[in-house]
């Protein structure tokens, strides 16, 4: 797969093909173009990593919530209103001083949509999928994380029906911050495991 989201071949060809497909399926009554608009709108404006960041911030500030999140992530995430497609069965894994987690899908592009939105191109790319499981420390180095030898790596190859989100470590010096300000610190890569927070 191309590392770029941009098609290498002429845009026109695939554009025409997709338009024709939509027209045929619409004429046959199999899709409603307004439903397509509504789907796109959800994933461009509603469903994205801000959802996951809110989950992380809540877990950092509410130990009872964190306990629920670690034991039944799907239900705990649904408490905040995030649920559904590609997040029906969630697992949250926690980074600690001695454990760093990294999520990948080697076979395709499995990713927890309700909390992180649609995956970035690099997550779906051959370089990431091929190397994350055999050289996670090398991959992390490319993302700027130089793990010490005393930290163990756990790689989660999420090919089955479970979807994984990393709970990053709460940064030092954030004791005074509330959940909203904490959420602003959380990055999407932090919840994949390719950033510290």
């Amino acid at each position: 797969m191309s590392e770029h989201g941009h098609p290498r071949r002429g845009l026109t060809d695939i554009e025409l093909k997709v338009r024709a497909l939509e027209a045929i399926l619409t004429e046959k009554g199999l899709v409603d173009p307004r439903a397509l608009d509504a789907i796109v709108e959800q994933y461009e404006t509603r469903i994205g990593p801000r959802n996951g960041a809110a989950v992380v911030a809540r877990a950092w500030t509410d130990s009872a919530y964190k306990a629920r999140l670690m034991s039944d992530a799907t239900a705990a995430i649904a408490e905040l209103g995030y649920r559904g497609l590609q997040g029906e069965n969630m697992v949250v894994v926690e980074n600690t001083a001695t454990v760093h987690n990294l999520v990948v899908c080697t076979l395709c592009s499995c990713y927890p949509w309700p909390v992180l939105g649609l995956p970035p191109v690099w997550y779906k790319s051959a370089p990431y999928r091929s190397r994350a499981v055999i050289d996670p420390r090398g991959v992390l180095k490319e993302f700027g994380i130089d793990l010490s030898v005393t930290t163990d790596v756990r790689v989660w190859d999420s090919n089955a029906e479970l979807r994984y989100m990393v709970l990053p470590m709460r940064p030092r010096g954030t004791e005074g911050l509330g959940a909203e300000k904490l959420a602003a610190l959380v990055t999407r890569d932090g919840m994949i495991g390719t950033a510290s927070v």
Binding site: I14, L30, D37, Q42, R83, S125, D152, N159, E161
Partner: protein, 221 residues
């Protein structure tokens, strides 16, 4: 299928390239393609197992040179043709013909139901009462299976020893469902593999790989 998509452990694909702005979609056709795949499954019965099977059938050179949503286009058309919901002639410009009566069709997903449909999801978890073949702590081995069809058992763990760390419950089995052999619901377990058991002594001693596998992927170690 031991296809190119099963790339865990391969080398030589170059550095991980990150985009500057990472838009959700890069062009309008990507938006439509994503939405078409999301929506049409409500009217024509198919699921991710079928879509993945078709993506994996992409000829390797095409797989490597296509963008993500180009692969989706290819796979969706294959699935819809298989179900006789569209034909190559129609895609090539012929007037759409009525659907043959053999195709079971529900109504198209309505715009007003999109939010609820996304929130409802499409869980592969099943209520079937199936006893688990393994329990947490069991030492297991990923089986040496090399099916010609779709499988969620990656090559890099086959024959390797691991330990069950969690029983996720009962799920539809992707492998059987993708090949048309039904859902065969069974337990899915998190299996922990020492990196050294996968890649040899050069791997870090404390590093581990976790992978969720179905009962049928496993045997006692």
């Amino acid at each position: 299928m031991n296809g190119l998509h099963d790339m865990g452990g391969m080398m030589g694909f170059g550095p991980i390239e990150r985009e500057a702005h990472e838009p959700v979609f890069h062009a309008d056709w990507e938006r439509r393609m994503f939405a078409l795949v999301s929506a049409v499954g409500y009217a024509v019965p198919f699921n991710d197992d079928h879509l993945r099977r078709e993506i994996e059938r992409t000829p390797p050179a095409e797989y490597l040179t296509s963008t993500y949503y180009e692969l989706w286009y290819r796979a969706l058309v294959s699935v819809l043709e298989e179900r006789r919901a569209v034909s190559r002639e129609e895609l090539a410009g012929a007037r759409p013909r009525p659907l043959p009566p053999s195709v079971q069709i529900g109504p198209a997903l309505a715009a007003g139901k999109v939010v609820a449909a996304i929130a409802a999801g499409a869980s592969a978890r099943r209520d079937a009462r199936v006893p688990p073949r393994f329990t947490v702590g069991d030492r297991v081995r990923a089986r040496d299976l090399n099916p010609a069809g779709h499988t969620r058992l990656p090559r890099y763990v086959r024959g390797r020893p691991g330990v069950i760390t969690r029983d996720h419950g009962v799920f539809s089995f992707n492998d059987s469902n993708a090949r048309g052999d039904g859902e065969q619901p069974q337990h899915v377990h998190a299996v922990c593999f020492a990196m050294r058991d996968l890649w040899g002594p050069a791997a870090s001693a404390g590093d581990h790989l976790y992978l969720d596998l179905w009962d049928d992927h496993l045997e006692p170690a």
